[in-house]
Symmetry: C2
Subunit: 530 residues, 2 copies
């Protein structure tokens, strides 16, 4: 499949724009072919016009067809074969094994949503039957389920060129709920984006889905993104990226004449708390695990732990020695692009200059600048100095972490209290620690979306119980997740039918439960017919 560098609008390639750009290989820095054409606002408008048309037809397409379509998307992505992995490697510098794994995660996720749509209970059907005899007023027949919101705009993320990009969680959960999707491709991997977009477009065609079900638009600046978010036909937005980027989109969306929801997953430092008994019994093991989690993907995951909080003790010293030793020996890695690498270096420098911060360790290996490499850094600061410098609590995107050494449990609680919203927090603890420091667990429950007992926050399982979200600034909407099947409800809203005849009701709400879905009927969960 030859890359065209064009936008893909409802199945048709388009490149009317004058502004062009290229992708670069972060390893070596050379420019990659072809040249990509930024979408014009007319093209963005055309994509949304087609999306609105598709919305109307999508509501008449059966769930089975939608499930089959999602499976076809997965098959088509696998069908691209090696060229997809090769292009993604060139554009991101990520290693082959990681990208093969990420592709597996991506298609696995798509198939999981296909199963969810096919099973059908996600629509949260509820039925309350009539009671015409009720006094003082008769009770009507009421039936409620979820319907799609309408066209969704998704911004591809740079750090997962497959799993959080063109066919990533946001796109797939929006499609699964029955919405058309317009993706704004991340400009750092436009070729990977085009390959995946064309796979989706082929699946649209194969399954006779409406053409406007999917479009892909390229853009390097903010113009196209802002235009899409402000377009009156856009009904919701999915985004994974920086706090500044996510907040800007949220502000645009909130200030529209008709505000729309923005699901932005933004920064998180994913604090790890080291509790005394755990450090005493497993300090060395924790150091190795932590280093692995900090440097995974060259620290470019939203779940890398950028903050480690412990209490001063000889065991903590041994932990620190081990962490410093491993860090010194660690290999540099290629970051996604020069912009991210430069920002990382700047932030590392900035943190190092903050009062009370000392550099505990850094990789001794040579970092090749032309290969966009960065290497691991560990900082240390006292609890007191940490509490005095709010800037230290902010994310450094890359393989660095900051150890906060508290001199008392009260100081450790104070550090926890000071935290803003995060995706995760981890307790390295024994069961005895959990009991003794239960207050910490309680504080953290108010701060994060996912709590880990031991283990490390990198690695986000795709399943019904996953919650990948958290209070602001981790996300713009703590009530929703961007990973796992619960993501589907972000792109749907309830509608209620009062006293409708059976034939006019959607299948999910008819007396005969032909879909065999779970429904709440007169307050009782059941899969029975009425």
């Amino acid at each position: 499949m030859e890359l065209t560098g064009k936008n893909l609008i409802a199945g048709t390639l388009g490149g009317d724009g004058k502004s062009t750009f290229s992708a670069f290989n972060p390893v070596g820095g050379q420019k990659l072919k072809p040249i990509f054409v930024e979408a014009t606002t007319d093209e963005a408008d055309a994509a949304l016009v087609k999306a609105v048309e598709a919305s109307e037809s999508l509501s008449r397409i059966s769930d089975q067809v939608r499930a089959d379509f999602l499976r076809e998307v997965a098959d088509r992505i696998m069908g691209i074969g090696a060229p997809l992995i090769e292009r993604a490697m060139e554009e991101t510098g990520l290693p082959e094994a990681r990208l093969v794994g990420e592709r597996g995660r991506t298609v696995g996720q798509i198939r999981l949503f296909a199963d969810l749509v096919e099973e059908g209970s996600w629509v949260e059907a509820r039925i309350d039957t009539a009671d015409p005899e009720r006094q003082p007023l008769p009770k009507p027949d009421l039936r409620r389920y979820l319907v799609p919101l309408g066209p969704v705009v998704v911004f591809g993320a740079s750090n997962f060129p497959l799993a959080f990009s063109v066919a990533g969680g946001d796109t797939v959960s929006a499609l699964a709920a029955g919405n058309p999707v317009v993706v704004k491709a991340h400009p750092a991997h436009p070729g990977t984006s085009e390959l995946v977009a064309r796979a989706i477009a082929l699946a649209v065609e194969d399954c006779s889905m409406p053409a406007g079900t999917f479009s892909l638009l390229h853009g390097i600046g903010h113009e196209i993104g802002s235009y899409l978010v402000q377009h009156p036909s856009t009904c919701a937005v999915g985004f994974t990226g920086s706090l500044a980027g996510g907040r800007a989109l949220f502000d645009l969306a909130s200030q529209r004449p008709v505000p729309i929801p923005v699901y932005a997953e933004m920064g998180s430092t994913n604090p790890v708390f080291l509790l005394p008994n755990a450090v005493k019994t497993r300090g060395v093991e924790i150091a190795a695990g932590l280093h692995g989690s900090v440097t995974l993907g060259v620290g470019q995951f939203c779940t890398n732990p950028g903050l480690v909080v412990g209490m001063d003790s000889p065991s903590l010293d041994s932990f620190v020695d081990e962490l410093a030793a491993i860090t010194a020996k660690s290999e540099p890695g290629t970051m996604l692009h020069a912009g991210i690498r430069d920002a990382y270096e700047m932030r590392v420098e900035e943190v190092g200059r903050i009062k009370g911060v000392k550099m505990l360790a850094h990789s001794k290996r040579r970092t090749r600048k032309k290969d966009t490499q960065a290497s691991a850094v560990v900082f240390e600061v006292s609890g007191e100095d940490f509490l005095a410098s709010p800037r230290l609590a902010e994310e450094v995107f890359g393989p660095s972490t900051l150890l906060v050494r508290c001199d008392s449990v009260d100081e450790l609680y104070a550090v926890a209290q000071r935290l803003e919203g995060h995706l995760t927090a981890t307790l390295q603890a024994t069961e005895a620690d959990l009991t003794e420091y239960s207050r910490l667990l309680h504080i953290l429950e108010g701060k994060v979306g996912r709590l880990l007992f031991n283990g490390f926050p990198t690695g986000v399982e795709v399943c019904p119980s996953m919650h990948h979200g958290g209070p602001y600034p981790a996300t713009t909407d703590s009530r929703s997740t961007s990973v796992g099947t619960a993501a589907i409800s972000r792109f749907a809203r309830p509608i209620c039918y009062q006293n409708f005849p059976q034939e006019a009701l959607p299948a999910e709400l008819q007396d005969q439960n032909s879909r065999r879905i779970w429904r709440l009927v007169n307050g009782r969960q059941t899969r029975e017919d009425l």
Copy 2:
């Protein structure tokens, strides 16, 4: 119970402010005793400080205690007896039967939420068990459920002094989810608000709930409300009122450093579509029902139908004649306060001056200005003129309605397409009409939260299947309802525990399902233990 005119902050009466105000009886217009003291920002801050304290304890209080507390609130409200109804009549001009009914609805709603909390499945528990052998990576144990958001600010509505006010749906769903609530009382019924607030405070005391679980603050201007919405401790806002008011709060909340959700239920004209066969067979009956729905509560419900759309025909003429005749004979009614009545009269005048609008009928009875009375009006306009004047689609709060006479089915569809978001839409139709005009149903599904087949939109059943919401500008969040048990999830967010030991998990997520709640365990709905 003597009214104090003071604010009630975490169980303590307070009146530090210098600014005072009074309630007025809309019947006759006389000022009512006592004088009420506006809350100061210090008092508002104190209420939220106490609410934050309460948040922490609330999470350790069992659901059974919370359910008992809600039932005690209901009993305490009933325990006020006649003085509550009498004060509400004085402050709102609403008739006794209506207020007795509204009180029944209010306590019924509170008890319904108590049952919901006691049953427990509302937390949407999901469990995916570990698979340590999985390749290439072991699968962790993940368990997710809903936890409260934190302090919720609720604005009492003027039009339901009990059911959408101090102990109304917003307050009760927030309390049910485990959040403390700070109510900003509506200044038109401060005495009714104080009576209900003191009933809640007594229930807080009886059930040993934390004092900060509930506070009531008075205010006539925007200052206290704005302060509450912008306060860093506020986690969500519930509001029922005007579009201007709701949007102002939404804007404040979105522009905070940490944005928070605002559930504002705002204007709606609740269009009624008259389809040909229905008008032919039941025109006279529909006219009577429509008039009843337009004038119910002197047109001060959020669900009064302010727009009626039909197709030109002799049957429509008969319908119109009947509607005009009933309207001419209809009795004026007292509106809630002079501000609402004046706004109604102004809007009626404005609509009458818009191009193509003619007054079809108005009540011939004398309207007593000193009793804040208003009377019914019916306007008519052609489909063409309606489409040319967007202002005609906006709500007129009061007992008026506008008939749009379309000259073709295409024009009727165009009128439907032009609609913004509404709480409801009604189809006066036969089953044959539904089939013939299925496109109309399809258009309306994209515009509203509740669709009615015949009947009228006034009367909002409180039950699991109710959806009282709709796309903007009906509400600021089409994904949520302000009536019915589903409202509880507005004030909660998911949290996920990874690899936690049993004892550290909340009861809802332990292997042993001691609460016997419905849980999604490894993708399967069940009430069994693991």
